[in-house]
């Protein structure tokens, strides 16, 4: 019998980016790259494990914006077009590199990835990856978490009704896609403030995750550190992130993804090859961006990069999976000696780390899970819900206000680069509540306008916009998106108040910001 548990938790999220008003849009590539490099490979790992009879337990969030995009017909079609272009590019690369023993096999590898992705996406999954993931949840191997409706940073939204709307819309969407209630949630950015758990309890959500500090500084302090969950006063369990397993993967200095044999993320032919050659594949012929074909390995702290060898990298992935398991085994053996119940090590990561940032990440996961099954009996993979079923009695405490951002605080989302957004968000929230109270039983055009106002508010609340502003990359896009949603909301507010709804304009923004088609604005009337 195992001495302890490991819960692998993958947080899959992208902001809602969909621009039907443009024939193509660069930021939509975020989704397309994640599908190709992360979501399809993760499904492939799960299918391989299932085929080989390897039992596994994974926990994974699919956030509402991601679900909305993965099930959107326009984006599904655009993804196929994206793959068609990549297949063409890889074909060109195979022609260009014919005769090169060093690079031709790599071009061929990318061609294979794109062609296989096209086939699997279209033929095998009928374009709907959400249902592909759902199959593993239905078979009990994968636990799919929900999240905030648009990944809003709940503590800073402050108002209970506004926070509840983020949860409510997410739960409703989850039910529609998975035919069941969510048992767990990934709080956006793990951002927590005491009392938030009461909202989760209202929806029957059994657990969420916290940064280590949120557990360690709980009141009273945790008896088991982060190696057992705490119940919040509402009865919803909080699982804390294990710092050791996180650092082994996350750390930019000592983490596995930085190994010199792994593929170098930043050397991409979008930057390396002549503009006249890659130009046709760029969104703007004169503005370079990544195209997903990368020929070099990390090599070292040098600009002179050596050629990527998939075989070497695969060996490293297996080696690192073995090392990760070895460390978890030793960790759990030690913890078990100091505990009077089996410890649980919770290891959460951004899903997109696996495959997109760390190309070999899915291989690492595959090796790790297989090794857990075949090579030891100390560690057992588990989902949080299973843990709570086996260990229903837990310590009760009030966790500390925290997030998984820098320093465990909210400073990533509220600092000198982005604090200007909060007055607008709070004002829009108050106005949305005002509208919902003023027009409680709206029908027809008024109802459409109120529902669209709710969508615009939710889209403005995405934590991705202030995050991008802090990181200093694609800031212009994040600022434009934020301003646009607030501006659209404000026009709706004014028009509704003045009884002068602009139907053609409303129709156009309904077409553009089509997230949550079933939304009901009256959630903003609800009070405690």
């Amino acid at each position: 019998m195992a001495q302890g548990y490991v819960a692998l938790v993958l947080h899959a999220h992208l902001p809602f980016v969909r621009h039907p008003e443009f024939p193509r849009f660069m930021e939509e590539d975020w989704l397309f790259e994640a599908i190709t490099e992360t979501y399809l490979p993760l499904l492939e790992v799960m299918e391989g494990l299932e085929r080989d009879g390897v039992p596994f337990r994974l926990t994974m969030s699919l956030t509402p914006p991601l679900i909305a995009m993965l099930t959107d017909e326009l984006l599904q079609k655009r993804y196929e077009a994206y793959l068609d272009a990549r297949i063409e590019l890889a074909t060109n690369e195979m022609r260009r590199l014919r005769g090169s023993k060093e690079f031709y096999p790599l071009a061929e590898m990318y061609y294979g990835i794109f062609v296989r992705s096209r086939h699997r996406f279209t033929e095998q999954y009928g374009r709907n990856l959400v249902q592909a993931f759902r199959r593993f949840q239905d078979s009990g191997q994968l636990q799919i978490l929900t999240c905030g409706a648009t990944h809003g940073l709940l503590p800073l939204l402050q108002d209970r009704t506004i926070q509840r709307a983020q949860i409510h819309v997410a739960v409703e969407q989850y039910r529609r896609h998975f035919d069941r209630d969510p048992v767990g949630i990934w709080l956006p950015e793990c951002a927590y403030v005491p009392g938030l758990d009461e909202l989760l309890a209202e929806y029957g959500i059994r657990f969420f995750f916290l940064e280590t500090i949120g557990i360690l500084r709980a009141d009273p302090p945790p008896v088991y550190g982060v190696y057992a969950p705490l119940y919040t006063p509402s009865g919803v369990a909080a699982f804390g992130r294990d710092p050791e397993s996180s650092a082994q993967v996350w750390s930019k200095d000592s983490g596995y993804p930085g190994d010199y044999d792994y593929r170098e993320f930043y050397r991409d032919i979008g930057f390396d090859l002549p503009l006249e050659y890659v130009g046709p594949y760029l969104h703007d012929r004169n503005v370079r961006h990544m195209l997903g074909i990368k020929y070099y390995r990390i090599t070292g702290k040098t600009d002179e990069k050596a050629t990527y060898h998939p075989g070497w990298a695969r060996q490293k992935a297996e080696l690192h999976a073995g090392n990760f398991l070895f460390n978890r085994t030793k960790q759990i053996e030690w913890l078990a000696q100091h505990m009077d119940r089996p410890p649980i090590v919770v290891a959460p990561y951004d899903a997109e780390l696996f495959g997109h940032w760390w190309f070999e990440g899915p291989q690492f996961l595959d090796f790790f899970i297989r090794k857990v099954h075949r090579e030891q009996d100390v560690v057992e993979l588990i989902t949080p819900a299973e843990y709570l079923d086996r260990h229903p009695v837990n310590q009760v405490a009030v966790p500390e206000i925290s997030s998984w951002g820098a320093n465990g605080t909210f400073e990533v989302w509220c600092n000198g680069t982005n604090d200007w957004i909060w007055p607008h968000l709070h004002q829009a929230g108050r106005r949305m509540k005002e509208l919902a109270h003023r027009y409680p039983q709206a029908e027809g055009l008024l109802r459409r306008a109120l529902n669209q106002a709710a969508r615009e508010l939710l889209l403005a609340q995405s934590s991705d916009w202030p995050f991008i502003m802090t990181m200093g990359t694609t800031v212009e896009y994040a600022v434009r998106r934020f301003r646009s949603h607030i501006a659209r909301f404000t026009k709706l507010y004014e028009d509704i108040r003045n009884g002068e709804i602009d139907e053609p304009w409303l129709q156009e923004i309904e077409r553009r910001d089509n997230i949550f088609p079933e939304i009901d604005y009256s959630i903003y009337r609800w009070t405690d």
Partner: protein, 280 residues
């Protein structure tokens, strides 16, 4: 046995239409983006190339109301100058995904209103009300922001403005910089509760309150141990007697200490600069 119709490659179809391969591919992409049923398919026998039957291509042109080359009544389609020189860059000859002029032109970001309020992307400096709000940013920092109605601002024009912070241990006055929209209140450790008053200073140095807010650290009472119960779709806590604990609490807490906030932000911010980093 039915005769199998010959498949045209993209190049052959483009030649049939009298346009470049690039232009045809762009047309296909745009049509797909619009949700049109496009007859081009990938042929596994030709390394995944796009192919189409002549008949399907003709039907597609018909549906689109476009002239069919060689058919009665169709207008001649000019053939653009081809780039077949061996000196042409390879992508120019091979890549079919070049954005057309139509694609490259960026339409206006915001749809134009036809009536009602205008769209104002430059967000307002003020929402015409007096109010102050405090946000918890970190255990040592509150971010306080405010709004001042223009009439209030006019009434107190020329005054210095400030915040009055009251805690159970006393009061503190902070004079804010002229024109500031917010203030980061930093303390070694935040108090459990702050009553914050915002306003201009009067002649005696007192703050004239125009807006107030209270920030308080949530305080919840809870039993020591419990069991979660699900009832009617909700979760609630059922207290249980505290079990006998034989764990080494100090060692476990020590083992739990690690780097703070080593989550996505740290990884994403590593490495060289790239627009790709914005993705999470």
């Amino acid at each position: 046995m039915a005769k199998k119709e010959r498949l045209l490659t993209l190049e052959e179809a483009a030649e049939f239409l009298g346009i470049t391969r690039t232009a045809l591919y762009s047309r296909i992409r745009r049509a797909r983006a619009r949700g049109e049923n496009v007859p081009f398919r990938r042929d596994s026998g030709r390394s995944g190339k796009l192919v189409v039957t002549l008949q399907a291509l003709r039907r597609w042109l018909e549906r689109r109301g476009e002239p069919i080359p060689g058919e009665k009544g169709s207008s001649p389609v000019p053939t653009p100058e081809r780039v077949d020189s061996q000196y042409a860059p390879p992508a120019e000859r091979l890549a079919p995904t070049a954005p057309s002029v139509e694609e490259a032109a960026q339409p206006a970001a915001e749809p134009k209103p036809t009536r009602g309020a205008p769209i104002i992307e430059q967000l307002p400096e003020s929402y015409m009300e007096n109010q102050v709000t405090a946000l918890f940013q970190a255990p040592d920092t509150l971010v306080v922001y405010w709004d001042v109605h223009p009439e209030t601002a006019k009434r107190f024009e020329g005054r210095r403005w400030g915040l009055l912070l009251k805690t159970e241990d006393g009061e503190e006055v902070i004079e804010i910089a002229n024109g500031a929209k917010n203030w980061y209140v930093r303390k070694p450790n935040l108090a459990k509760e702050y009553e914050i008053t915002f306003g201009p200073f009067d002649e005696t140095g007192q703050i004239v309150p125009i807006a107030k807010t209270i920030w308080r650290r949530p305080k919840l009472e809870a039993p020591q141990w419990g069991r979660a119960v699900q009832e009617a779709g909700r979760v609630r806590l059922e207290p249980v007697p505290e079990p006998e604990i034989t764990a080494d609490v100090g060692a476990l807490q020590e083992a739990s200490r690690g780097p703070l906030g080593a989550g996505s932000a740290e990884w994403v911010s590593s490495g060289v600069t790239s627009g790709e980093q914005a993705k999470k």
